[in-house]
């Protein structure tokens, strides 16, 4: 009996398995290479910044030209900016995303809108800052204020919220729309009662990621709302405010004799802020995915 072809087949099968193993290992290695620097940064900052963290650090006003005391005004300022940005960009972004996915026909007008959104997402953040300075601070005369900064950040956040909303709506199968309409629902009733609830986790994820990016940015608020130092908390939306990212820039470059632990501590607070938002987004996404049945 001639076993040659059989043996050859077996040998090539073993080879294929080896190649597959090697491939998997290569992919694992690449993943590790990507994760390690991020992990390194986080761990390094955590170690260096942890000694600065105390209740006073996050709840007190700065003292001694910001060389001591806490960073409360920067934390509060960042929260204000986040809320302001959300108030403007969430309703607008969701409305635009729903329009694009459900109502817009495929014509030159919607294509133009889409191109605008994509381009908007690619604009460098300092350009937003200058644009906000021109439009909100000077033209609308809102001055250097939380409003101007929040509006500027909103423009930056909008493309993220619009595209994730559109994506999330589109990922809900078309057949549910047909069913809703066949049962005597209008398009909007079907969207509101059936499609939107299914898309909501995706939309919320997009909102969090958009806002998270906004609160971490320095350049857009540099000329529009951030201030070097404020002896009190901002009392109206027309006030300028301190904010974590800008504060980090200030204390690491502008103040001689700044204790290094305070610098790392401030960075750590911002990092925790951003990572926490990221984590919330991931949890929402994975929960929704586990619950989804279609």
């Amino acid at each position: 009996m001639n076993l040659k072809p059989f043996n050859r087949a077996r040998k090539s099968k073993i080879n294929r398995r080896l190649v597959q193993q090697a491939g998997f290992n290569a992919i694992r290695l690449v993943t590790l290479v990507t994760i390690l620097p991020i992990l390194g940064i986080v761990v390094y900052i955590a170690i260096k910044g942890a000694p600065a963290i105390s209740w006073e650090f996050i709840s007190a006003m700065p003292r001694d030209g910001m060389r001591a005391g806490g960073i409360l005004p920067a934390i509060i300022g960042t929260l204000y900016l986040m809320v302001g940005t959300g108030v403007v960009s969430i309703p607008l972004g969701i409305a635009a995303g729903i329009y694009l996915s459900e109502y817009a026909r495929d014509n030159w007008w919607t294509r133009l809108i889409r191109i605008a959104i994509i381009s908007l997402a690619g604009v460098p953040s300092v350009v937003y800052g200058l644009f906000g300075l021109g439009l909100f601070v000077l033209f609308f005369n809102f001055g250097i204020s939380i409003i101007s900064a929040a509006l500027t950040l909103s423009i930056m956040t909008l493309p993220v919220i619009i595209s994730t909303t559109e994506e999330a709506m589109r990922s809900v199968p078309y057949k549910f729309r047909i069913v809703g309409i066949s049962l005597g629902g209008t398009q909007w009733q079907t969207i509101r009662k059936v499609i939107l609830p299914q898309a909501l986790p995706g939309i919320v994820t997009g909102i969090i990621l958009g806002l998270e990016r906004a609160v971490g940015e320095t350049a857009p608020i540099l000329f529009t709302g951030a201030t070097f130092f404020l002896p009190h908390l901002p009392s109206s939306p027309m006030d300028a405010t301190m904010a974590l990212p800008y504060h980090i820039y200030v204390i690491s470059t502008q103040i001689p004799g700044m204790p290094i632990t305070i610098q790392y501590g401030t960075v750590l607070v911002l990092l925790v802020f951003v990572l926490a938002m990221n984590l919330i987004a991931s949890v929402i996404r994975s929960r929704a995915r586990a619950k989804r049945q279609w």
Partner: protein, 253 residues
């Protein structure tokens, strides 16, 4: 002879991509009977069903000509209240498509969008519809479970129930048992037998056996044309036209 519920006259449908699934169809659909349209795939059955409750409006249509008179009113009229029409003409699709809601919400959706707010009244209608669709006894204790927790056959009866909840006059069934096992199929057919006298059915059956089992009237569709129509026993056992004879005897299709 029964009354005509829907009278289709010279109906022609062409999609924007050039396909013409309905070519000059004239067909009578009789009240309180099971009207069956059958024939090989691509014959125009699904398209006809989509025209009858104007779901066709969701597609890119090039031309839609002719008349469809339902109780004397042309449902192809431009200024027709399409939503009112869809409440009068319910549809069950070939695959169960529950909405991603609870069992009860699947049924109450149609009632709520029609403006019904009274919770007790809605609950009443939900129960009535589920009983009618032979599903109540299996699921009455888990109305708030997700609809997708039901088996395929139960899902399809849920889809039937939510159409029934709107108390339609006409029910369109587009191969409603094609994704179902024999037991579930039998339950749907039981419903058809029982409900025959209350509704007007237009059924594109899953196969010819089903057609012969339930039909009062039958119409044979082939490549967008209506070849032959008449009482079911005549069409299935004594057809006159060659294409119908060939199809029924299994020479093609």
């Amino acid at each position: 002879m029964a009354n005509t519920k829907i009278s289709i006259r010279n109906l022609r449908l062409q999609y924007a991509d050039g396909k013409t699934p309905l070519k000059d169809i004239s067909l009578e659909i009789y009240e309180h009977q099971i009207n069956v349209i059958f024939g090989p795939a691509g014959g125009g059955k699904s398209s006809l069903i989509r025209v009858l409750n104007r779901l066709i409006d969701l597609s890119d249509v090039h031309t839609l000509q002719g008349e469809i008179l339902m109780d004397g009113m042309n449902i192809l009229e431009k200024d027709l209240d399409i939503i009112a029409l869809r409440r009068r003409v319910g549809v069950v699709f070939s695959r169960p498509i529950p909405l991603p809601l609870t069992i009860a919400e699947n049924i109450s959706f149609g009632l709520e969008v029609a403006g019904m707010n009274d919770k007790n009244k809605i609950a009443e209608r939900v129960e009535k519809a589920l009983r009618e669709a032979v599903l109540w006894d299996e699921i009455y204790d888990r109305l708030d479970d997700p609809a997708y927790s039901l088996s395929g056959g139960q899902q399809q009866r849920l889809c039937l129930a939510r159409a029934l909840a709107l108390e339609p006059e006409v029910i369109l069934l587009d191969e409603p048992t094609s994704a179902l096992d024999p037991v579930s199929t039998a339950k749907i057919e039981q419903f058809l037998e029982k409900a025959r006298s209350q509704y007007t059915f237009l059924l594109a059956p899953h196969n010819q056996q089903q057609a012969a089992r339930v039909a009062d009237n039958a119409a044979f569709f082939l490549q967008g044309k209506l070849i032959e129509q008449g009482p079911a026993e005549k069409i299935f056992f004594n057809p006159k036209i060659k294409e119908t004879i060939d199809y029924i005897e299994g020479r093609f299709g």
